[in-house]
């Protein structure tokens, strides 16, 4: 994928993102991303509101139309597809872990986890750690074809370690690069690469 489409792809995954956000997401140099975003805004592919960018609807459709061109090769690569399928399986575990983080089973009823039980939280974090142990080799496999995907491993690890150090918000807070936020960006990235839609 050329840098222009890569920047638009980054915006499709992370809406209302700053140039720095996009640069980090797609692993491209900051000045280059800023320049491409400025061009995208000037050519009505993106709109800029207080230093944050969003794709225009038409640019989004056009980008999605070009995905098959960019990703045809990896979609036919059995190694890549197998790694993607491993991700989808692991995604189910991740969803269970996040649910266990947010809700507790209390005598058969589910109630919100208010994080007042450190033993429960430690147990769920241990499960999240096992997800991390399994996502790393998957990302290694995926990044053989698309090297930039490697950056997700570090971002996930950063969020996990921040949570392990005691800040619960790093697991699923939606306003920061929490484990769940980064995971969903990764999922969205992969769905677009594979030309699939999210199944709940």
């Amino acid at each position: 994928m050329n840098d222009r489409d890569l920047v638009l792809h980054g915006l499709a995954i992370k809406r209302h993102a700053t140039a720095a956000d996009v640069a980090e997401l797609i692993d491209l140099a900051g000045p280059r991303v800023s320049a491409l975003l400025a061009t995208a805004a000037a050519t009505h592919r993106a709109v800029e509101v207080s230093a944050a960018f969003a794709l225009t609807p038409l640019a989004r459709v056009a980008l999605e139309g070009r995905y098959s061109l960019h990703f045809n090769a990896v979609r036919g690569d059995s190694e890549f597809v197998a790694a993607y399928e491993s991700f989808e399986k692991l995604n189910r575990s991740l969803k269970d872990v996040i649910t266990a983080w947010q809700t507790l089973d209390v005598g058969g009823a589910r109630v919100a986890n208010d994080h007042s039980d450190p033993a429960h939280d430690a147990q769920v974090l241990a499960r999240l750690g096992r997800v991390q142990d399994q996502i790393e080799p998957i990302l290694t496999r995926l990044s053989r074809r698309i090297p930039r995907l490697r950056v997700y491993a570090d971002k996930l690890l950063t969020a996990l370690e921040a949570a392990e150090d005691g800040d619960a918000a790093w697991v699923s807070d939606v306003r920061r690069a929490s484990y769940h936020t980064v995971w969903f960006e990764l999922h969205e990235d992969l769905l677009r690469i594979m030309g699939k839609t999210r199944e709940e």
Binding site: I13, K14, R15, H16, S86, K89, L90, S93, K95, D96, I98, T99, Q102, T103, L104, D105, V106, G107, G108, A109, R110, V111, A112, D114, H115, S116, D117, A119, H120, A122, L125, A126, G129, R130, D133, Q134, P137, I138, L160, E161, E164, D165, S172, D173, V174, R175, H180, T181, F184, E185, E188, R198, E200
Partner: protein, 577 residues
């Protein structure tokens, strides 16, 4: 025979140090010491781990002591490790004095092999169970000990397939039970130096040379025969807090069967009919554990051939209502003091009890426009909006909106933040919409399918019941004084607090009282600190937020005027001195 150097039998005798045997083994030893029936176990001490980490191999004499430990388990259970009749299976778990991330997880059913599977099938008459136990062992052993990613394992894989996969990855699972055990012990010791465990110790100033213990415990089988079963018991009802044991029993089943939902467990009373002796012993044990720990207990147990075993006992997770009621009751029962009772109830639990709810009878004549799975409790009303951008725009204009989507993705988050509630057509309680709504505290109903929700209409979401009603229904906010237990907690908390937290009507004539709500109109919560310099009293609804109350006290405020008062009181109590 010389005194064992590395291994401790958890026989209920001398209680060893937690530092030497780890927290898990310590609690097994403690339960045995007070006469509770726990499956027999022995522990390899942290000293052996230290010797392993220094020397790179298992210390001299450890192997022999493990053999002696196994021989003791065999004598206690009447089973044989690696035997082709009545095979003994064990669990192997790590256990440091301080728990930390990255350590090795538990391996279950160790000692399993083709011959053990055949023997177990013959003994139980359950060939499928024996095969399943074998499969589960191979899965855990390969992922935990051999570190082969387990996500690729096919759920229907048979042991032969799994062994083939393990061999394809360049590994092997020993057929010998003893060899399996030694490999698992090495893996536990090795995990002490796992990357995340090391990092965690460095971050928390925990010494690298403490080492971990390894607990080896006999597995018991709740599906061995007609007089076996498994279940869970709470010493009090974890939903209401009522002082009545509460639980479930599943005859002829293993713990996994309860979790899997494949079988419907029976109420605990059914156990008293089938296994009266074990049932009576269970109630007595649960009561003893509750008194011992001074808290509601959640106990997992198994009955094997009529004999009761407690597998795990811990403080029970509980609903907010149960937390409040048990805390107040236990003071009356002289089980805990007032200070402990106040620490048992979190500010968030109180807040959840005071969330607005539908007024009684409000739904009587209300049309239901959608019904699904409740993913985040709470009640909210607003205009139905189908696009996140529109939700954001209308909310910015002060309108209350409910965001309705087929599913949600990271693209929708700004709309979810803006909305009062979220509804999705597809997905369950683990879907993106459910996860994000809970993170945001937005009432959420998921998986409503095609519904009668129409653009331009308005409705009310009941996130606990999973129902969306037509129109705006009346809600009530429960008052803390109306609940007798909450009122008791308020009185206790005021006695224990040097900071005064008053309701507006109690707070007339306080000099120099700053109005925070007025200030917060122009400042975010983080800006609270600004302009409080020197003030000793502050008033405002914002102070009912525990974080805001704590922040105000940190800035030197000594009198807070707000309502409700209890969340602020409890949050201030929890501040470090």
């Amino acid at each position: 025979m010389p005194d064992p150097r590395w291994v401790v039998h958890l026989d209920g005798g001398v209680l060893p140090d937690k530092e030497a045997i780890g927290g898990k083994a310590w609690s097994i030893a403690r339960m045995r010491a007070i006469g509770l029936p726990v499956p027999p176990a022995f522990v390899i001490s942290t000293a052996a781990c230290r010797a392993f980490l220094e020397g790179g191999g298992l210390p001299v004499g450890l192997s022999t002591e493990i053999d002696q430990g196994i021989a003791w388990l065999e004598a206690e259970t009447g089973r044989e490790f690696g035997g082709s009749k009545r095979p003994l299976l064990v669990s192997v778990r790590s256990g440091a004095a301080i728990s930390m991330p990255g350590m090795m997880d538990t391996v279950l059913n160790l000692g399993m092999s083709d011959s053990a599977e055949a023997a177990l099938a013959l003994e139980t008459g359950l060939a499928e169970f024996a095969r399943d136990t074998h499969r589960r062992f191979l899965d855990l052993y390969s992922s935990i000990v051999l570190k082969i990613p387990s996500e690729d394992a096919h759920p229907a894989a048979v042991p032969t397939d799994l062994r083939r996969r393990i061999e394809a990855a360049g590994h092997a699972v020993p057929e010998s039970a003893k060899a399996q055990l030694i490999e698992a012990v090495r893996a536990v010791f090795g995990s002490w130096n796992a990357r995340r465990a090391r990092r965690y110790r460095e971050h928390h100033g925990i010494a690298h040379d403490l080492g971990t213990a390894v607990t080896i415990q006999a597995m018991v089988f709740g599906n061995l025969d007609e007089r076996s079963g498994t279940g869970v018991i709470f010493s009090r009802n974890p939903l209401s807090g009522e002082r009545v044991p509460y639980g479930e029993y599943l005859p002829r089943a293993q713990g996994e069967d309860v979790v899997s939902g494949r079988f419907t467990p029976l109420p605990l009373d059914a156990m008293s009919v089938r296994e009266p002796a074990a049932h009576a012993q269970l109630l007595a044990a649960t009561d003893l554990l509750e008194r011992e720990h001074g808290d509601i207990q959640d106990v997992e147990f198994t009955v094997q051939a009529g004999k009761l075993y407690l597998l795990q006992a811990r403080s029970a997770k509980r609903a907010a209502q149960a937390a409040v009621r048990a805390a107040v009751d236990m003071v009356a029962e002289r089980m805990i003091d007032v200070k402990s009772a106040l620490l048992r109830v979190s500010p968030e639990q109180v807040r959840s009890l005071l969330l607005p709810r539908l007024r009684e009878g409000a739904t009587m004549n209300a049309a239901v426009v959608a019904r699904g799975e409740g993913a985040c409790p709470g009640v909210a009303s607003g205009l139905f909006v189908f696009e996140p951008d529109e939700a954001e725009r209308r909310a910015a204009n002060g309108e209350d909106v409910i965001l309705v989507r087929k599913t949600t993705s990271p693209d929708d988050i700004h709309g979810m933040i803006a909305a009062r509630a979220v509804v999705t057509e597809q997905g369950g309680s683990t879907s993106h919409a459910a996860v994000v709504s809970r993170a945001l505290g937005r009432p959420c109903v998921v998986g409503v399918g095609p519904s009668d929700i129409r653009a331009g209409g308005s409705g009310t979401v009941d996130g606990a019941a999973g129902v969306v009603y037509d129109g705006t229904l009346p809600v009530v906010a429960p008052r803390e004084d109306d609940d007798e237990d909450l009122a008791t907690l308020i009185a206790w908390a005021r006695d224990h607090s040097s900071i005064r937290v008053l309701k507006p009507r109690e707070a007339t004539g306080i000099a120099g009282c700053i109005d925070l709500d007025a200030r917060l109109k122009s400042l975010p919560l983080e800006g609270l600190a600004m302009g409080l310099n020197g003030a000793k009293a502050a008033r405002g609804a914002a102070l009912s937020n525990p974080a805001a109350a704590v922040s105000a006290v940190e800035q030197g405020i000594e009198t807070l005027v707000t309502e409700p008062v209890l969340p602020a009181l409890l949050a201030i109590m929890r501040m470090s001195p």
